[in-house]
Amino acid sequence: MEPVLVVLRGLPLTLLITIVSFAIGAVLGIPLVLGLRTVVAPVRWLSRLAVDLLRGVPMIVWLFVLKFGLSTPAFRLSSLEAAIFGLGLISAGYLAEIYRGGIQSVPRGQFEASQALGIAGPISFLRIIAPQAARIVSPSIATYLIGLLKNSSIASTIVVSEMVFQAQSYARQNPTIAGILPYAIAGLLYIVLSVPVAMFSRILDERLRKAVI
């Protein structure tokens, strides 16, 4: 029973990191995807490089570099801040790509119709294109959210006491027990947490497929 309680102690942080970094990513992904789609070539290249670097370097490395590389006596990220901020940035990279796919699959005619009606760029983007793109990408976003839930465990490497860290720490402090047990418990918890999201996204996916839009 005790290992279960210990791992459960990490649950609030797991959820906190997942939710806050997802929110950060969802918001920061918007300027990034605008950068990816802009006609200004240098901005587009820079956005591309940023997105590719965020996605191409393992999270473990990003978190470590954020926590220690940015550290000066005047400005310092705590482990939790580094984890949330780091995963938020990485999510922005992934979500920007997902957004891009969604926007690209909105039929060209929708852009042209808003243009022909004289609906200004930002309004057309927010009210015409974005809602349609959102429907298209919502299953991918749900999948990403599940991935992020699991990847929040990487925060354990910079000492954030979420579930996997708790599992590790319990295993280390109790050398006589089977070291694998806390991990198995954590794994089960992740499934328990992700299955509802997966089910929800499957239903959403099917609903949107059929939707009389």
Binding site: V57, P58, I146, I180, I191
Partner: protein, 219 residues
């Protein structure tokens, strides 16, 4: 007093590169094993047989629902309790391949479902066997739209090889930790390690984007 950054990077690079070789080979093995598995799981999930469908769904959702690290631990440290003892490289490959194939199975399914219904009907109308229609008409088109997603997932499995360090596979991340433990310059080591990963993943991503664009054009 401190060694200049580039000098120390010069010293770290050889062990990191040997780790990179190991990482690449883990990823390649996971992909080679994982792709056929992905097809298998995908056909199971899409199967009309409810039992097989449910089984496929359970396999796929567990594979996607658990962190790769946890799968790795369960395969490597957990299976011996049931008398199955795997070498660390084998365990790493199996865990990564499972995780990879579950994600790919969903990508392939989405690709197959994006093939217009008319293709299936045309196959029917021509009297093609439904298996022939599926394998030779639907799958090639579905795969084509799945290729960018599969490539993206392959880049991720390469990054996930870093988890194998926990079971003593001398891959890139493990070499980074060893170097750091030796000289306590973790930050420097990790920044260089990140660059080594990026040296593989960035070109791979660009190839993906290029393929996506090429595939976007008509046949």
């Amino acid at each position: 007093m401190q060694t200049p950054l580039l000098t120390s990077w010069g010293q770290y690079l050889p062990p990191l590169l040997s780790g990179l070789v190991q990482s690449v080979w883990l990823a390649v093995a996971a992909i080679v094993i994982g792709l056929p598995l992905a097809f298998l799981f995908c056909t199971m999930v899409m199967s009309k047989n409810r039992l097989i469908g449910a089984l496929g769904l359970v396999i796929v959702e567990i594979g996607r629902g658990m962190p790769a690290l946890v799968i790795l631990y369960l395969v490597y440290y957990g299976l011996p309790r049931f008398g199955i003892s795997l070498a660390n490289v084998a365990a790493a490959i199996i865990a990564l391949a499972w995780n990879y194939s579950c994600y790919c199975s969903e990508i392939i399914r989405a690709g197959i479902q994006s093939v217009p219904r008319g293709q299936l009907e045309a196959g029917d109308a021509l009297g093609l066997d439904s298996r022939v229609t599926f394998l030779r008409v639907i799958v090639p088109q579905g795969l084509r739209s799945a290729i960018p997603g599969l490539l993206g997932q392959s880049i991720l499995v390469f990054q996930d090889t870093s988890l194998a360090y926990t079971i003593a596979v001398p891959e890139l991340m493990k070499q980074a930790y060893s170097l750091g433990g030796e000289n306590y310059q973790y930050l420097r080591v990790f920044v260089l390690t990140g660059l080594v990963y990026a040296a593989v993943t960035l070109p791979a991503t660009w190839i993906t984007v290029w393929m996506e664009r090429r595939l976007g054009k008509s046949y």
